[in-house]
Subunit: 255 residues, 2 copies
């Protein structure tokens, strides 16, 4: 098994609508290990996970070290980051998690220099949007879908301007009805945020990770609360499901 | 991809020496999802990870909930547990982590009722031994290899007596020379502990997870310190490597 060759170039299946052109981010090379592959950047590179509580997942924020379990929390970013470091151990990769609970798009501008641009990521993965809707819905924020789109586009444009060679991953915000915080009245308004995320991923040539579709399929196997008790924050199972979808879509690896 | 069928019954490759008879713990069933498999227990069951700091990995110890990220820490048990809950979501599985940093075999007897037998695990995974050697080596413990074997056998016999239908997984203790705490003088004495673990796994019909071999292969890809800075506690990459080996050997799934 360990010595056999395998081809993991299967990431296209999860791409929303099958419409996006996906960068050939992974290419298999000859090796006795099935894991010997290369990322888009040739030998070394930096990967950054952003943005909100789903990414944060209780990470320590004093040292914020790369490739460090404490600095990664207990969510999908930890699992995906650990998988990345394991599968691409022959490369020199630094993985960071800079998610902060509660973040909405407008809050990113003020910390973007420190928490993104200065790290000079070769690959930036962003998951944002559910707080933009949720906090507006519960009266704690006066944002709109238009503000989400405008601010998100501005952030991506700035990032591309400062780091022209960056690879972008835009993750679809998601919500699971039938849970403690989410009911069916979320579906239509959340879809607007999802549509914006997809639209921006096309505009900026980003890889799109269709988390809503992934969870929609998962709830045919187990109830929504199994994957996310409140419908917003994933359980252990949900965190692995997300890491698995991220790994398959972005890296072409099975988790 | 999602709709394709795959056969994951590949766990034999990692079995030490290829000599053990492995329970057919996983059997693929017809499904549109590649993940639809069954564990040894038919529809529901409890899985328990034990014993020391490598398993503990900073978990919270107040609530000690099953299937809960906080209660699982940031190590291989979190990744393997999350993968298990994701891949076997169609079953009703409770996964616990009851690892405690610094534990040696003799310390398990006093907490075994509460931290194992009362949970009635259908599958128990044990990783123990490195502290039995390390603490003896640095003069903080007067145990011997004989004591390790005697106490370990007693613990397993008690477990089998109280829970006759339990499936056992014995994980090989490991050490990586060329790191901050471990040098080559560890190799031979640690091998004695590994030999005992393998011997007991045969005696009790346990699945054996050969972590030393897994790390030995991994250091052909990246330095030992990449997988474990101190040679005992795994990094993020090392934690995923372990979870991956555990998943492949015990569950027949690729992580």
């Amino acid at each position: 098994m360990i010595a056999s060759r395998r081809n993991f170039l299967t990431q296209t299946a999860l791409v929303a609508g099958g419409m996006l052109s996906i960068p050939a981010i992974v290419s298999a090379v000859e090796s006795k290990k099935p894991k010997k592959k290369r990322l888009l950047f040739p030998e070394k590179g930096t990967i950054l996970f952003q943005v909100d509580s789903i990414t944060d997942a209780g990470r320590e924020k004093t040292k914020q070290l790369p490739n460090n379990a404490d600095s990664f929390g207990r969510g999908y970013a930890f699992i995906a980051g650990a998988a990345l470091l394991d599968h691409f151990s022959h490369m020199a990769i630094s993985v960071y998690n800079r998610g902060i609970s509660g973040n909405k798009v407008y809050q990113l501008a003020e910390r973007w220099d420190k928490d993104c641009l200065e790290l000079k990521p070769d690959l930036l993965s962003i998951l944002i949007g559910i707080n933009d809707y949720w906090h507006m819905r519960n009266g704690n924020y006066d944002g709109t879908i238009e503000k989400y789109e405008t601010d998100y586009r501005k952030l991506l444009a700035l990032t591309k301007e400062k780091l022209p060679d960056i690879s972008l991953v835009i993750c679809e915000p998601f919500a699971l009805p039938g849970t403690t915080a989410v009911d069916n009245s979320w579906v239509e308004p959340v879809r607007q945020y999802q549509d914006v995320a997809l639209k921006l991923s096309k505009e900026f040539g980003a890889i799109f990770v269709p988390f809503q579709r992934v969870f929609d399929e998962a709830i045919t196997q187990a109830p929504a609360s199994y994957w996310s008790p409140d419908g917003v924050h994933p359980s252990m199972a949900g965190a692995h499901l997300m890491a698995s979808a991220w790994g398959k879509t972005v890296l072409g690896i099975e988790l």
